[in-house]
Symmetry: C2
Subunit: 391 residues, 2 copies
């Protein structure tokens, strides 16, 4: 990746022995597009970065795990600003060119002594780190680092888009305890970058759900620094369309990795609703199914209990005529005309659910509305992980 440098250190914000403070730096002035949590309770770094990214330019991103700096009041704002200022100074940037992000426990003040000690080494190591290091440093309950790469070209000039993300609980549109950072050396028109990124987030991160909780810290952003020296990519052009498609594809891959790494997840399930009265209805119904505890525990138990699925559709608020509904597990028709399909559907459906990945298709047969949502099951380990998270 041209013109970007990366760094990550152990600052002892998390338990010792784990990377927890990281930096992404662009050698060139760069464009940025970002999407933040819709939660009304917002962490200090979200409040700061939202404002700083509004003008569309940024040079660097400081991120930590282990502490969300959320619900920390005035002190939390002061601390976030100080971390940002120290980093910007060490990089020789104006404060406004640096964005910040945090993830971890809510409601505890930042351990500022550790930040004060960690920032200079972080900057010093910029020539030695990789994006993988950053992906590792932002993990909380994630069990693996999530990184995806795509290659494109514009006007004969090749460019790259790389992206990282962290889950793993509180994953629900809009958006998640989710951080996701993309860098690209493509030269991209700023306004187009914003619209393309927002659209790609909508079709990816806003289509996944692990537990229906939305966090205080969600941040997804892309930094484009033009180091590839391609002709600037604009909307309404073939190059723009290609860039948009790459962005969407990369984000969807990261989104799926997040669901696969959902806390305690043993299943990866696509919930597809079609034949809905509207697309919005389809998404409403798909989310109700994907978030139903009874459905998710049935997936964990490999129980072909389509009744819980139709019940969730029924209470979702979407328009439903129960005698029309068809439900499939992969290609197995479990219910048709709102009733059990009979025959060997039970045995065949159970076999589908014994796989690690499968698709549930719900056809409401009312219209042409359609939506897909990706989710996981609910296992003993989800409870264990979240009952013990802070201890």
């Amino acid at each position: 990746m041209k013109g970007f440098r990366f760094s990550a250190v152990e600052a002892a914000i998390k338990k010792p022995g784990r990377l927890d403070l990281a930096l992404i730096f662009s050698d060139l002035p760069a464009k940025v597009a970002a999407v933040y949590t819709t939660n009304k309770v917002q962490a200090a770094p979200v409040i700061i970065s939202r404002e700083r990214s509004e003008n569309g330019s940024c040079r660097a991103l400081l991120v930590n795990s282990g502490n969300a700096n959320a619900c920390t009041g005035e002190q939390g704002m002061l601390d976030a600003l100080e971390c940002g200022r120290k980093t910007a100074e060490a990089l020789g940037l104006p404060d406004e060119e640096l964005l910040i992000a945090s993830t971890g426990v809510i409601g505890q003040q930042l351990p500022m002594d550790r930040f004060r000690k960690g920032i200079q080494p972080l900057v010093d190591q910029l020539d030695h780190g990789t994006l993988e290091d950053v992906a590792t440093a932002i993990m909380t309950t994630d069990t693996f680092a999530k990184i995806e790469r795509r290659e494109g070209e514009a006007g004969g000039t090749p460019y790259s888009i790389w992206g990282i993300a962290k889950g793993a609980g509180m994953i629900q549109p809009n958006m998640a305890t989710m951080l996701s950072f993309l860098v690209t050396d493509a030269a991209v028109d700023g306004a187009f970058l914003k619209s393309a990124f927002a659209e790609a987030v909508d079709g990816s991160y806003n289509a996944i759900t692990v537990d229906g909780d939305t966090s205080t810290n969600d941040t997804a952003l892309v930094i484009a620094n033009g180091a590839a020296a391609n002709p600037v990519i604009k909307g309404g052009t073939p190059e723009g369309d290609a860039f948009r498609a790459l962005l969407h594809d990369l984000l969807l891959s990261l989104a799926k990795l997040i669901v696969k790494d959902g806390e305690g997840a043993t299943k990866f399930v696509e919930i597809r609703v079609k034949g809905a009265a509207t697309n919005a209805d389809a998404k409403t119904a798909a989310l109700a199914v994907a978030n139903s505890l009874l459905v998710k525990t049935a997936f964990f138990g490999q129980d072909a209990n389509w009744g819980r699925i139709i019940a969730a559709v029924g209470y979702s608020g979407a328009s439903v005529e129960q005698q029309q509904v068809e439900i499939r597990f992969d290609d197995v028709v479990m219910a048709s005309g709102g009733i059990f399909a009979g025959g060997d559907a039970e045995a065949a459906g159970t076999r589908v659910l014994q796989q690690k990945e499968f698709k549930v298709t719900i056809d409401l047969k009312l219209g042409s509305g359609e939506a897909a949502v990706y989710t996981s099951d609910l296992s003993y380990d989800y409870v264990r992980i979240n009952a013990d998270y802070r201890t």
Copy 2:
């Protein structure tokens, strides 16, 4: 209880050795008021009983557990009607005077041979059963039968109200996989009975949540047969107010028993939101907290993680100013002005969560809106029970 008879038998709809078919019979013509599920997918007995109860009179109720007769199409309707007809015939009643209710697995046809065999013995034993037998027969994953009794008087004449209920999963306004049947020998004006009952349900069953799922079979009803021979209780009178209060108190007690018996529950938690912009906002925020998996697993883990609570309030959709929010665990202030209260709040809050019952109070300090919701924690056993339910 004057003028009511009860009966329950083992019809082998559930696993052998458990009561699963029951009957409530009024010796006198009686008034009925009923509330049914808001799920758009509705079980056959719900469709039938909703229509039959509309005229406000009924003599008997047939109920089974082990099979919900939901998503069973035309055959399910025919079977439900046949069960009703056979029972009404044996009782010498017109079909319309008999209501029916079912709970259990969705999507399987009723085992009609067992109903055909079970109904006559059920009717024959009407002189020998009790309301406790009926309460036992409607249990599914419930671990204990739920029954409450209240005594009142009107114009110097004593009367009784008895009620039973079943939970235990899919408990969420409006309403639950919940059946609840009340009988009273009071003479009550029909229109008043309807409004008083609907109001009491709203303040009780519609204020509890176990897992956010709403079932296809919810039915709550009260049958009043006037056998106490009191002056008819009407609205807008002291007797009406007293009856209304008793009804609400009885239903709230049953509702709390349902939450205490929530699947796998180890905690009983009252979530009280006050200072909200409106009562509706307060209920929205309280439900978001009560249904948050992250909050519920923290309760299970006895983790005083108030950050997850404020995060749930933030994404609930209710108006929130984060720097105003105060959160208490019983009397312990955990957060004030949106930030951690400090001192020994962590230790004291943890001690509160180690109790089996406690109260979480969230003061938004925006207005005078207030609401209480009752919920349970999310334990390993919730997952076990629901992963294995059908097996």
